[in-house]
């Protein structure tokens, strides 16, 4: 089975659903899978597997986007309540559109 283009590993379903909405609005595919751990560590693991090198992690408190090319730190982070907005910006990173956050 092929690895996903973008992978999100999240510990709670609500955060995963919010992230997915952000991606859906931008028209970028994302695979959301359950996993336990801290947001950044999950994002790092996800980035290693994702074909586009974009990994997202969510732990109920925070969500984070990590780039496979720079796994040492999160490229974007946000509180879990803003998961949809981070999903939107993560999707824009993949789609090469300017981010909304600024």
């Amino acid at each position: 089975m092929r690895e996903p283009l973008v992978l999100a590993l999240v510990s709670d379903a609500a955060t995963g659903a919010a992230l997915a909405l952000g991606f859906e609005e931008e028209g970028v595919p994302v695979t959301v899978a359950p996993a336990e751990g801290a947001a950044e560590a999950l994002a790092r693991t996800a980035a290693e597997r994702a074909v586009l090198g974009l990994g997202i992690g969510g732990d109920g408190n925070r969500v984070a986007l990590v780039l496979a090319g720079c796994p040492g730190r999160a490229y974007l982070t946000a509180p879990a309540d803003d998961a949809r907005a981070l999903g939107c910006d993560a999707a824009r990173s993949a789609a090469r559109r300017p981010l909304k956050q600024t």
Binding site: L67, R97, Q101
Partner: protein, 563 residues
């Protein structure tokens, strides 16, 4: 005695401090600069000068005793958009604008604007455009499905938030849905409107056609002009809305008389013709109209915005604005500034030379230049040609280029000033840059998130995001064209007004703009046909093209002039 040569430019004030003793060459102690505070020649300039004199005092250990100035003639720049006046005319007839980065569906829908609340009632006759404002996307999609099942004919949807695709996926993927319409809740419900979404990469074809738009929204013959302006306002965009507001009262026509009048040196008045070339310096004495009323003019220049052939959508939007950048050079009166300055220096301040003579003296300190016959001073406000027989001053310099760049970029002047001076690149991915020559380069660290997918000016190691979606190749060409249109153009005007130049001569460039490599290329290219060699001045052998006038003022004083 310690003296300070003070050059108050339109954008930059420069000071050169030297110890002057009779019979000896000045010993140079300090050269500094800061942005000019206030209009050139006005008393507000004294603040910038005071700051520089304090800096000099800290460096040298003593305050300069005497301040030396040149005759000062200020330049004002402006940017007029004649196209805006047509939009004001539209204001009472329709709202027309591009919308939405992520629209849903495709095609055209027209009908009466209707709220979700109204859609809950019995279906009305005719097509409607549903407006979703302040509602959750899931609930909105459910209500739209329900309304359609009960017989409502929904032709399109306008959404306030960025939910267009989410609603489309849950209601109807093929229906034209536009989102990010911030004032959707305040649209005139009950009015006729039309929505169009083109396919990705395309632009609207129905709303941009004045005839079809007019038929779609029922514009009558009197409103044909409004239909044309509305169509132009949305042309070139992927998604757009046009909403028909209440018709204006009969006989009420908005005043669009915004003509700029030019009064010639002979007293004759005529309208500014954006398509024509500005006349030679000295031929226009006054200006009236939307750019302000000014008299005692020495020169006036107008330049259109450069247009990119390779980006027809952008070219079209630019052409629609009919923007004209104007620079006006007027005779100055700096008595108040001299008085204010006299209080800063123990022995007072005085005007000792024309800028022209000071620039020549300062530029002549360039090693190897001898006494060059032609000096071109590329400043913030003017391009001046100095030669032994006098000067030709033309309105329009670095500031006019900045204004044009700001208009092209849609940015504030300070950001345009930075963008003007540096090459650019688009941050294609967090690790790759796409440069103006089409090449790519790679970053060791990811680019900051606020620069991603944006065109950025390359200011040293810093990426400065610019608010435009232009490709780097296109922006690079426009930037160089703006410099050519203003500086190259004025160099030619000044040369023509001076009667040309003997072939094979050397032209020395001074002024802030001369520090820009692209400007040198532009000027050298324009002077190619005249068989002139172009070189950058190096004032006192170490200041490059800067501080020529400030140094020249000190030299004028030291050699006995201006006493």
């Amino acid at each position: 005695m310690l003296v300070a040569g003070i050059d108050v430019g339109n954008s930059t004030t420069e000071v050169a401090v030297a110890r002057v003793e009779p019979g000896r060459e000045p010993s140079w102690l300090f050269v500094g600069r800061c942005p000019t505070t206030g209009t050139k020649g006005s008393v507000e300039c004294v603040h910038g000068i005071a700051e520089l004199l304090s800096r000099a005092e800290r460096r040298v250990g003593a305050r300069p005793a005497l301040g030396l100035l040149a005759e000062l003639h200020p330049v004002q720049t402006d940017l007029l958009e004649f196209g805006r006046m047509e939009e004001l005319a539209l204001g009472r007839t329709a709202i027309a604008r591009p919308v939405s980065q992520t629209p849903s569906g495709f095609g055209v829908g027209a009908g009466r604007l209707t709220t979700l609340e109204d859609l809950a009632g019995p279906p009305a006759h005719g097509d409607v455009i549903a407006v979703v404002a302040g509602a959750d996307f899931d609930a909105a999609a459910a209500r739209l499905r329900d309304a359609r099942e009960r017989g409502w004919s929904i032709a399109a949807v306008i959404v306030e938030d960025d939910d267009g695709v989410l609603i489309g996926n849950r209601f109807d993927r093929s229906m034209p849905i536009v989102d990010e319409v911030a004032d959707a809740g305040r649209l005139p419900f009950g009015a006729s409107a039309a929505v169009e979404v083109a396919e990705a990469g395309g632009s609207v074809t129905v709303l941009s056609d004045p005839l079809r738009l007019g038929l779609l929204l029922g514009f009558d013959a009197e409103e044909a002009r409004a239909a044309r302006v509305a169509a132009r306002a949305v042309a070139g965009s992927r998604a757009a809305i046009v909403v028909r507001t209440a018709s204006p009262a009969p006989g009420a026509r908005p005043d669009v008389n915004g003509a700029v009048l030019l009064v010639g040196a002979d007293g004759a008045e005529r309208r500014l013709d954006e398509g024509a070339e500005p006349p030679a310096p000295g031929q226009i004495a006054a200006i009236r109209g939307p750019a302000g009323d000014r008299d005692q003019l020495l020169d006036l220049v107008w330049r259109p915005l450069p247009s990119p052939a390779e980006d027809p959508g952008f070219a079209r939007r630019l052409a629609r604005r009919r923007a004209v950048a104007i620079a006006v050079l007027a005779r100055g009166e700096s008595g108040d500034l001299v008085t204010a300055l006299s209080e800063l220096c123990p022995k007072g301040a005085r005007v000792v030379a024309r800028e022209s003579d000071a620039a020549m003296q300062g530029a002549a300190t360039t090693p190897g230049a001898g006494r060059a016959p032609f000096i071109l001073d590329l400043g913030g406000g003017t391009v001046d040609l100095h030669r032994a027989t006098g000067a030709v001053c033309t309105a329009g310099g670095g500031d006019l280029v900045t204004r044009i760049c700001a208009s092209l970029l849609g940015s504030q002047p300070a950001l345009a000033e930075r963008a003007k001076r540096h090459r650019s690149a688009r941050v294609e991915t967090p690790f790759t840059l796409h440069h103006e020559d089409g090449s790519r380069s790679f970053l060791g660290e990811p680019a900051p998130p606020d620069t991603l997918a944006r065109l950025c000016a390359l200011d040293g190691k810093r990426l400065v995001a610019l608010p435009t979606a232009l490709a780097p190749e296109v922006w690079g060409r426009l930037r160089r064209e703006a410099k050519r249109q203003v500086l190259g153009f004025n160099v030619r005007r000044a040369m023509d007004a001076a009667g040309g130049a003997p072939r094979g001569e050397l032209v020395l460039l001074v002024g802030g703009c001369a520090t820009d490599e692209e400007v040198l290329d532009v000027v050298a290219a324009d002077l190619e046909g005249q068989d002139l060699a172009v070189a950058r001045a190096n004032v006192l052998g170490r200041h490059g093209p800067r501080a020529a006038v400030a140094v020249g003022l000190v030299l004028t004083f030291a050699r006995g002039g201006g006493r």
